[in-house]
C-alpha cells in the first residue's frame, strides 16, 4: 500500500539546492526528502524559517553594488 506524507515541495535551481542542503546539514531540521537535482521536500512548518535562512545566506554570498551611490557616474 502506498503511503502519502504531507509536506512542501520546493523547486529551485541546483545552486540554491546546494545552499539549502548546507543549511540543513547543521541540524537536519528542514528537509524530509531529497528528491532530485532541482526538487526537495521540506517540512510544512519549516518553510518560512528556511526562506529566511536562505535570504540571509544569499545576502552574505552575493554582494551588490552600493545602493546609496549618489554620484553622477550612475
Amino acid at each position: 500500500m502506498p503511503k502519502a506524507s504531507k509536506g512542501v515541495l520546493v523547486e529551485c535551481d541546483p545552486a540554491i539546492k546546494a545552499i539549502i542542503l548546507k543549511i540543513d546539514q547543521e541540524k537536519n531540521e528542514y528537509i524530509v526528502e531529497d528528491l532530485d537535482d532541482t526538487h526537495l521536500m521540506v517540512k510544512d512548518s519549516k518553510v518560512q524559517a528556511l526562506k529566511a535562512k536562505l535570504d540571509e545566506e544569499l545576502k552574505n554570498a552575493v554582494s551588490y553594488p552600493d545602493e546609496d551611490d549618489d554620484s553622477d557616474r550612475g
Binding site: M1, P2, K3, A4, S5, K6, G7, V8, L9, V10, E11, C12, D13, I16, I20, V32, E33, L35, D36, H39, M41, V42, D44, V47, K51, L54, L58, Y64, E67, D70, G74
Partner: protein, 460 residues
Amino acid sequence: MDYLESLQGVTKNQLYKQPSTVLAVFRRMQSHLAKNLVMALLYMGRPIAVADLDSWVRPDSIKEREITVVQLERLAILSVVSNPGKPKAYSLTKTFANSLRLALTGGGNHLSFGVPCSDPYGDPISIEDLDEYAREQWESVLGYMVGNPWKPTGSKGVELSEAVTNLLAFGELITIQSKGRKAQITQKGFAFLLQDVNAQIWEILMLYLNRSADLRMERVEVLSFLFMLGSLELGQSYGKSNLTQTQTLMVGDLTEFGIILDDESSPVFYPTRLATTLTSDSGALRSAISSTTVEAGTPGFIVLETNYRIYAYTSSALQISILQLFSNLKVRYPNMIAGKISRDSVRRAVAQGITADQIISFLDTHAHPQMRKTNPVLPPTVVDQIRLWQIEGERMKTTQGYLFREFEDWQEYDRTVKYAKDIGVLEWKNDSKWLFFVHKHEQLASFVKADKARRAAEGR
C-alpha cells in the same frame, strides 16, 4: 464572471430574466468560441446532439470546445437535455435564450436597460461635466485612501460618507483608526492603486456586492443593477421611478464613487463614463478615462533615466506615496521630487505584493511627454532590471501537498501517476524512484483504495 459561476442556479435564473444582464454576460465572455456557440444555438428550436456540436469544431480544437462547454454549463447558460433513448444533447437555458433574444431584437416591456428620460429635468448635463464629476469623485476616493483629503485643483475637496470608507475598510484596502476618520492604507490598497481604473471599479463593485449580503440587500437586484449600468448611454439621463428600493439605495452609494451622478431631489440620474465602460471591452474608452481620471490633469510627469534615477514633476501626495512604494525618494522640491529605483526598493515593493509589471506599467502610463519621444518609452535596461529584481526574490518555488511513495510495483505506481495527471493534481514525479508529489490527495487516496480492491478481486 467567476463570481457569477459561484452563484446558485436559482439566483442565476432570476438574473437572466433581465435582458440587460444577459447581454452584459454575453459581452464579457472571454472566448469567441463561447459567443459563437451561444449565437448558433440562440435561434435553434430543438436541442442539439453532442455529435453535431462536435462537427462544428475543428478536430484539433476539441480541447477548447470542452473548456467552453463546461464554462457555459457552469454559468447555467448551456444545459444538458437528456431524453431516454436519444444521445446527449445541449440547448441554451430557456431564460437566458429568451432574454438574449429580447436584448438583441428589442421589444418586450422589461425596462431593464433603464428608462431614458426624454424631457430633461432641469438643465441637461454635458458629457464633459460628467467626466469632470466622475474624475473628481474617484480621485477623492483614491486620495482618501492614501490618507490625505487631496483636492483637485480649483475645486473643493469632496467629503466622503461613512458608507464609502466602511466599504474600503471592508475590503481591507484601508484600516480606519479608532478615533477620527483618518485612514491608513494597507498593502492590498497600494496594489489596488496601481491597477487601471476599470479594474479598480470592478474591485470596488465586487466588494460592494459581497457586502450587500451583510446590509440585507437583495443580491439579485444589486447584480442586475450593476449589469444594467454597463448598458446605459453616456450623457443620457435615466428615470429612477422603476428602480426597486434596493436599487435606489445603490444609486446613492455609487454616486459617492463617481460612478453615477445623482441629485437626491431630482427623479433622474446620469451614469458617468466609469459606469458605461464597465461591461464593454473596448480599450479606447478605458484609456480615455484613465488618462483623465487616474492622476490629475497633466498627462505624464515621470522621467526615468537609464541610471535608475527618477524625476517626477508633481506635488500631489497621492502620486508621491505611490512612487515611494518602489523607489527611494531623495529630494523634494515644491513642484518636483527626485529619487532612485534600487534593488532594495523594488524588493520591498515585491514583498508587499506589488509585481514588477505593475510598477512598469505605472511608469509607462505616467511617463513625461519628453520621454514619449523615444521608443520604447522606458529605458529597456531599467525595465529588465526591475523584472530581474523581482525574479531574484523567487529563488525557490514552494507548493504545499503530499508525497506519495512506497508503491508495491510499477503498475500500481504507473496507474496512480497517470490518474493524478489526468485530474490535474500532479506537481512532480520521478519514474525511477517511484515517487510523485500532488497538491491534493483526497481523490487520489480513494483511487488507490479502489484500485487496490479491484486488483485483489482480480488476483483471486
